[in-house]
């Protein structure tokens, strides 16, 4: 009998602990779902074709949209990604495959510190280094600020993912007489690719919603602007400006813009995953 009681107790404890784990995971997921559902609830009503294709209207006039901010965000993020991602990946490869000694440690330390610098500080720095010198706000300086924020995340995740590639895989490549640079690019990086892409997308998604650095750099713009050397609209800026305004119509549009921003980030991340997933062999496949 005693034996059976032990069995019952063990089952109860097991059941209770498993239940707790499930509850905690649910609590972790809740904020994400809550935010997303609330965004849809508040924002979906204001999203229509006008919102996605028209310029902002003056207060009091109905309609109008944020087409310029959607495109502007794309341009600024494009500039940031164009230099931030390659530089970050390059630094990560250096740290993982070649970086030994003091210099590598300095690079690693700098990246970690840069990762912890508040985004508003990066905004001010770029403002004084580029905007003040050029005498005007621009998409370019916004791209520089966001790119600076991407580099350390991309570099460190690239490094960690490469370090996870087993050393016997590297040895196999060297043993075949493949030069080290080739083995690094075609074997190590390829083996770690899915992890590196995750890091890149994480960095991208994080800076896509940054507002503070853009206030000092891209500034925002109520009109179309195709020149990256001029002030440019961006979704986070538009959300910020509309949300703090006293007008109900603008508040609704701010919610809509927030929803659009999240959906666009989600779409970009998914698209990259699908494209990058092609031609990749899964371990179990």
């Amino acid at each position: 009998m005693a034996k059976q009681n032990v069995g019952l107790r063990r089952r109860l404890v097991n059941w209770f602990m498993t239940g707790m784990a499930a509850v905690f995971s649910l609590i972790v997921l809740m904020p994400l779902f809550a935010i997303f559902i609330y965004l849809i609830y508040k924002g979906i009503g204001s999203i229509d074709l006008n919102f996605l294709t028209k310029l902002p209207q003056p207060v009091g006039e109905k309609g109008g949209g944020m087409a310029n901010a959607i495109v502007g965000s794309g341009v600024i993020l494009g500039i940031a990604s164009a230099w931030g991602i390659p530089l970050g990946i390059g630094a990560g490869i250096y740290l993982a495959e070649f970086g030994t000694g003091k210099y590598a440690q300095l690079v690693r330390f700098t990246a970690d510190v840069l990762n912890g610098v508040p985004s508003i500080v990066i905004g001010i720095a770029v403002y004084s280094l580029i905007v003040l010198r050029q005498g005007h706000f621009s998409a370019l300086s916004g791209g520089v600020a966001l790119g600076i924020m991407m580099v350390p995340t991309v570099a460190r995740t690239t490094e960690e993912m490469l370090l996870m590639v087993p050393s016997n895989v590297r040895e196999a490549a060297l043993g075949l007489g493949i030069p080290q640079w080739r083995s690094t690019l075609s074997i190590s990086v390829r083996t770690a690719a899915s992890g590196i892409i995750t890091g890149v997308m994480l960095a991208f998604a994080r800076v896509a919603g940054e507002t503070a650095p853009l206030m000092f750099t891209a500034l925002g713009n109520d009109y179309w602007n195709s020149d990256p050397r001029q002030p440019t609209a961006a979704l986070p800026l538009q959300i910020f400006n509309y949300a703090k305004s006293p007008y109900d119509e603008w508040h609704r549009q701010a919610w809509a813009a927030a929803l659009v921003l999240i959906v666009l980030i989600f779409m970009a991340v998914t698209a990259v995953r699908i494209v990058a997933g092609r031609g990749q062999m899964r371990h179990s496949a």
């Binding site: 040895e171 043993g175 007489g177 493949i178 075609s186």
Partner: protein, 253 residues
């Protein structure tokens, strides 16, 4: 066709620890030469010195002379990558490239060295997999399955095919069957026997029966020294050194 290997006054270190001392050995072409000895005797380091894989490890150092055919392995004008292309290497643990298909695994050595001819590549992949006795098991899933999805024994034969695809003169195998079951081990041994028609094979093993089964010549290593090197029958029946006799009769190791 296989070529001979000549090793003279070979010394190797990891940092300050000397792991090989004054090794002298002449490996006959188109024969199987086994390297046996207890763990830590330097047998793996020895074969890694043949294709300059020893120097890949941080603070590893080599002195001495190694000639593979007419190539001076440590000569001032010899590049490590060229040596490694002439010496195929199979490692203790099967190490296929995990994100590549079976086909790409075999073709990797050629493709990544700039070889582009598709038709020839197809032929080489088929021939190499045939030589490694794997073709019939994988011919229908060549480009569909990843190398890592095969069984352990198949993975090791895939690695052999990959090494053969670059058409080396010598095949070095570092305990290729130590992680495999008896049936897969038997297949690998059979393979070694067939491969010596075209290649010179050097095989490291800690399994003495395996050495006795596959090798024409056997070298016994102990604490970084080559104690005895002779025809396999001689080593296993009438060894001239007491230490060799003690080892093969199971008195230590």
């Amino acid at each position: 066709m296989g070529v001979g290997i000549e090793v003279k006054e070979l010394n190797a270190w990891f940092g300050k620890a000397q792991v090989l001392q004054d090794i002298e050995m002449t490996v006959e072409p188109n024969k199987v030469t086994a390297v046996i000895g207890p763990s830590g005797c330097g047998k793996s380091t020895f074969v890694r010195c043949l294709n300059r894989m020893h120097e890949v490890v941080a603070d590893a150092r080599v002195t001495g002379k190694v000639k593979i055919g007419d190539v001076d392995v440590y000569g001032p004008s010899t590049a490590a990558v060229d040596v490694r292309r002439r010496i195929g290497m199979v490692f203790q643990k099967a190490n296929p490239f995990p994100t590549m298909s079976i086909y790409d695994n075999v073709a990797a050595g050629l493709k990544l060295n700039g070889f582009r001819n598709r038709r020839q590549l197809d032929e080489i992949v088929e021939r190499s997999l045939n030589m490694a006795a794997l073709w019939h098991e994988v011919k229908d899933v060549l480009k569909k399955k990843s190398g890592a999805s095969l069984s352990g024994g198949q993975q090791q034969r895939l690695c052999i095919a990959r090494a053969l695809a670059v058409e080396p003169d010598v095949l070095v195998m570092d305990e290729p069957a130590s992680a495999l079951d008896p049936i897969s081990t038997g297949k690998i041994e059979e393979l070694v026997n067939e491969l010596k028609e075209q290649y010179t094979v050097v095989i490291v093993t800690h399994n003495m029966q395996q050495a006795a089964r596959v090798a024409d010549f056997t070298g016994f290593f102990l604490m970084g020294r080559l104690i005895e090197f002779d025809r396999t029958e001689k080593i296993f029946t009438t060894p001239s050194d007491k230490r060799t006799e003690d080892y093969i009769t199971g008195r230590f190791g």
